[in-house]
Symmetry: C2
Subunit: 340 residues, 2 copies
């Protein structure tokens, strides 16, 4: 099959890779309908994370079940499915508490490389959620978004305890931040402040439900959020970048007793104890437990309540993956969808 | 009046200080029934925090109202009252959300020095909670504990989202940690693991409701907590020390999706972003909003449901404050009560 392989920073190629096959009785093989490039794929692409030899890429996926192992009971060949970027058994104590991304048997899907024609999914019963019918083509991007960026934005909003009557600020205007805006809207936030200085992203933020845009960053951004919130800060702040500046911006934009939900993969970040202490802010983040939210999100997509697929502003054949990476790296595209 | 003044690390004296008087119409003056030495008073005593010239000491207090300003309506002369170590208006948006320690008009009570015969309390209506009658002498230590250590342990347990069915671990066997155990018990925890290597403190922990004692610290302590919790970690961890080691011990003793409530005043602590990210633990701490809990705690004390005053294992006249500090510094005493 064809699949994306990263050889070195900036060097992404579409090559022949071995077809995946059932290895365990709990596996499923998917023929992928669509896959995409993640903001986190840019860390190795930019050389911030090390590239250890040629690596298959991608961890977001939707597709049709091609084959299942003998123990798989909840999905069957021909069915359209969405899965999270962590495979999980969905039965252990941690899964049952809603933290499938920390399942005691979790496996990162990135190791299998979903930017490809086919994908092996372990723990298929716990990981995959099917739709009643194969959805129409125009819904594919939204289902694909559910696999990571929508689920991650939703997790961040939940970690930030977004709810009715609250003011929410969103740090980061990538796909996850923008879908954090959408999640905040769905979860009933009264006011949603998107922090962005890019006009096209501001526009999408408004479309997803942002009521205010703040273009300032760092201390100026914090001051602006306070101005908009009686000097107190937002109740809930979603952090979707992962740098020291963005984390401090999130922490100090939150009122005492408020919440930060952070999902940017933290790079060289450290939270000063004194800032945490005096802020009185509740902070939770990490790899999103997308699986917790998948059934609900897929319902909202299926009945066209939400349209998270709008974050894909570049749609390319898989073979043009290199251009898809480049466009995101240069911020010409918010998110690239790849069609195998 | 007589009052404690710290001149330098290790140098605590009881001296004549000026009698406090009503300065604002919202003030009250208390004749103190009891006061005490806090673990946080040991930071300057040990020279970790700087001592800027002679400083009146103390921020915990119970007493009888001596006089009130013209605008005070909720407490009156002759009434026995307890207050938090932060004065707060209890009416602003932050107070109403339960974070009186971050009240927009807050004043730290430490600046007035409660280790004395009399004390001025600003924002008396918002800060003080009275009892229906002057309580019997044997209840005084417990009411005094409510002023800080009990309220702080309770805040930590609440921040750690302690509740029925949960396993709680407590890092720190000082008065706050021990009363965190008591709080966890009252809040319905199923299992409470106290981390302590001091026999007398272990005994008090058990008396307050600890079901297990772990004597190991650091990585060994974390491993022991995991052993006791199916390899997952506790649902809720109370951190009541404030060092890097204790914070990391708390974070890594908590299961994914669990909670850390930290109330040790953080000294040179920084939380690595990657540890926070991969832990998926929700962390909240800071100066406890004791005022939120005071009415409930005072009720539990008044009807003798709880006996937090047991943490005072040294009871001295105010004039012997220096010995009170020494005993705590040398860990001969858990907490020293001082009688003016």
């Amino acid at each position: 099959m064809r699949g994306v392989v990263m050889h070195a920073p900036g060097d992404v190629r579409v090559e022949n890779r071995e077809d995946p096959r059932i290895e365990a009785p709990t596996d499923a093989i998917l023929r992928l309908s669509a896959t995409c490039v993640c903001g986190s794929d840019l860390w190795p692409y930019r050389g911030v994370d090390k590239v250890e030899g040629p690596s298959p890429m991608g961890h977001e996926y939707v597709g049709v079940v091609e084959a299942v192992g003998s123990e798989v009971t909840t999905v069957k060949p021909g069915q359209f499915v969405v899965g999270s970027f962590w495979a999980s058994d969905n039965t252990c104590e941690v899964c049952r508490a809603g933290y499938q991304s920390a399942c005691v048997h979790r496996q990162p899907m990135g190791q299998f490389g979903s930017q490809a024609e086919y994908l092996r999914v372990p723990l298929a019963d716990g990981t995959l959620v099917g739709t009643p019918e194969v959805p129409s083509d125009d819904l594919i991007p939204s289902y694909l978004a559910a696999s990571d960026v929508l689920g991650t934005g939703w997790f961040a909003a939940t970690a930030a305890e977004v709810g009715p009557g609250k003011t929410v600020a969103v740090v980061g205007d990538g796909a996850v931040g923008l879908l954090g805006v959408l999640a905040a809207r769905q979860l009933g936030a009264e006011r949603i402040i998107a922090m962005s200085r890019h006009e096209s992203r501001q526009q999408l933020a408004r479309q997803f439900g942002a009521t205010d845009i703040v273009t300032e960053r760092g201390d100026e951004g914090i001051a602006r959020i306070k101005e908009l919130t009686n000097g107190l800060g937002a109740h809930s702040v979603i952090e979707a970048v992962g740098t020291q500046e963005s984390m401090m911006q999130a922490l100090h934009s939150t009122r005492p007793g408020g919440n930060v939900g952070f999902v940017g993969v933290t790079h060289d970040v450290s939270l000063p104890g004194m800032d945490m202490f005096w802020s009185l802010v509740k902070v939770q983040g990490g790899p999103a437990s997308v699986r917790r939210f998948l059934p609900h999100l897929m319902e909202l997509i299926g009945n066209r309540t939400i349209n998270p697929g709008l974050v894909f502003d570049l749609d390319l054949p898989l073979d043009q993956a290199a251009e898809g990476y480049r466009a995101m790296d240069e911020r010409r595209a918010i998110k690239t969808l790849l069609r195998p």
